[in-house]
């Protein structure tokens, strides 16, 4: 009895989470302009999505921005974490606490304060993309720092010492010994940075060039507009992103299970 109740509860929650996305996915394959209306099958939304320059530009721009700022954030955050770990205690604490500020701060405040500093005080034009990229790097780098730091702490420091004793320069020891050991942290930091940048609305809103849109800022404007062809093309976009996310997550799980199976076989 209790078991059934649990299952029913989980099922209801899954429905709450997934029904809206799935309903939208179904309707994206019809010519209906609002859900509830029954219309015939149509691929028009997908054609519009991939052939309207405004839409394709916006998607490409969002991806470039995410990959670009995540790359900068990963380099800065990783070097920052290594540097902070090997600095004296005072400096290390200072970097770690400053790193915490954007993490706990509201995105609205982060975006607004960067906009004021760069645009209002220093007169940097938003059209240069500098405020936007700076904002996204500020959003992402602290999370890279946080995912790299534990890996550095877990690292076996004697290997580094051994490399130095065997004649490696500190720089070679860093690139050959330290970096390879923290790669998992760097990769998950980068993935997190891409996700954060893709999902951001507020920082982009306060710092983006007038004619540039990310998916978030574009969709928010489109829901308020009355252009139904764009509105329903976004249903198609939602469905495409949903499919991509499902594929990535399934792929990661399959890989993790295989690796688990592999390592288990090795220990035997």
């Amino acid at each position: 009895m209790a078991k059934i109740a649990k299952r029913v509860f989980l099922l209801i929650m899954l429905m709450f989470i997934y029904l809206p996305i799935l309903i939208l996915a179904v309707y994206s394959f019809t010519s209906a302009t609002q859900i509830g209306a029954i219309r015939g099958f149509s691929m028009q939304n997908y054609i519009t999505l991939f052939t309207t320059p405004e839409l394709t530009d916006m998607i490409r721009g969002t991806l470039f921005l995410a990959l670009g700022s995540a790359t900068i954030a990963t380099i800065l955050g990783t070097l920052g974490a290594i540097g902070a770990f090997y600095s004296d205690r005072k400096m290390s604490t200072l970097i770690s606490s400053l790193n915490q500020v954007p993490v706990v701060n509201a995105d609205v405040v982060t975006g607004f304060s960067i906009c004021i500093l760069l645009v209002v005080v220093l007169h940097v034009s938003k059209e240069t993309f500098i405020p936007l990229v700076a904002g996204h790097v500020t959003l992402c780098a602290p999370f890279v720092f946080l995912s790299v730091m534990p890996k550095i702490k877990q690292m076996d420091s004697s290997i580094y010492e051994a490399a130095l004793d065997l004649g490696a320069t500190p720089f070679t020891a860093l690139t050959e010994i330290v970096i390879p050991q923290i790669v998992p942290g760097i990769i998950s930091g980068f993935a997190l940075a891409v996700t954060l940048s893709l999902d951001d609305y507020f920082i982009a809103m306060y710092t983006k060039p007038a004619m540039f849109d990310t998916i978030s800022t574009y969709v928010v404007n489109a829901t308020k507009g009355s252009q139904t062809t764009i509105k329903t093309a976004l249903w198609a976009l939602s469905t495409v992103i949903f499919a991509v996310v499902v594929l990535i997550v399934v792929g990661m799980n399959v890989r993790a299970m295989r690796q688990e199976g592999g390592s288990r076989a090795e220990t035997k």
Partner: protein, 261 residues
């Protein structure tokens, strides 16, 4: 100059000074000056004497409290059932619950809006309800994940010990499992409470109204009133600091409780 590992942190330190510290200093400066650059407390007193801004503050606190409570009441049982279940694939099932995290929030809210419009008609008729539903829909995964992580790391033998010593299921839950899961609850609450106070775009998308703290910044921003906007940002920062202090206290007691056991 000789290469040293600690110098690697310098670029990031400078970056933090420029993009984290400097913006906050500018924010404080703007909050306490007027258009002519003279010192003034007008922005501060203006906030606390204006019925509209004060109302917004209390309204968004109410939205944040209710939303956080709803998220917790939904997420805890989900995390608990999954963490306690015997199935081997439970980490995959949790994945199913938190997967929407990776879909752009604006597209998810669009989907929710379509469904709610079908059910309710005009969404502006029930602003409070729809605010809570919308933000819950957006942030529920962020509450499930930390609670699940904490619960699945719990040492099962503690529960068994409690049962052996004569506690019934409810007592075991209330006196062993629940206190030990406090760190997960705290980090979940901090992931939901602050966005619920500031993330006005969800409400804006649902029913074109933005009666919540974050939106005040937005409206000052649109009006190019940097001084008023800075003051709102500063007040939000104060709330965030207060909240962070409170929750880090909770985390410590949680850890201490765990250490004692």
């Amino acid at each position: 100059m000789q290469f040293s590992r600690k110098n690697l942190g310098i670029p990031y330190f400078i970056f933090l000074l420029f993009f984290v510290v400097a913006p906050l200093i500018v924010l404080v400066f703007y909050a306490f000056t007027n258009g002519q650059g003279q010192f003034t407390l007008e922005n501060l007193t203006g906030f606390f004497t204006d019925a509209n801004t004060l109302g917004t503050l209390f309204y968004s606190l109410a939205v944040a409290f209710v939303t956080t409570a709803v998220c917790l009441l939904l997420a805890y049982p989900i995390a608990y059932i999954l963490a306690m279940s015997e199935i081997k694939t439970k980490s995959v099932i949790v994945m199913v619950f938190v997967l929407p995290m990776w879909i752009n929030f604006s597209l998810r809210i669009t989907a929710l809006k379509e469904v709610l419009t079908l059910l309710e008609g005009n969404l502006a008729r029930y602003p409070f309800l729809n605010a809570v539903v919308g933000i819950t829909y957006d942030f529920l995964p962020f509450m499930i994940l930390p609670i699940f992580t904490t619960l699945s790391k719990l040492d099962g033998s503690l529960r068994e010990a409690a049962m052996d010593l004569g506690a019934d299921k409810v007592q075991t839950f209330l006196q062993v499992t629940l206190p030990l899961s406090v760190p997960g609850i705290v980090s979940g609450v901090s992931m939901v409470f602050l966005p619920a106070m500031t993330n006005y775009v969800v409400l804006d998308m649902l029913y074109n109204s933005t009666y919540i703290m974050g939106s005040l910044i937005g409206s000052y921003f649109s009006a190019y009133n940097w001084h008023g906007g800075s003051m709102i940002a500063l007040i939000l920062l104060a709330i965030i600091c207060l909240f962070t202090l409170l929750t880090s206290d909770g985390e410590e007691t949680g850890e201490r409780g765990g250490a004692l056991l």
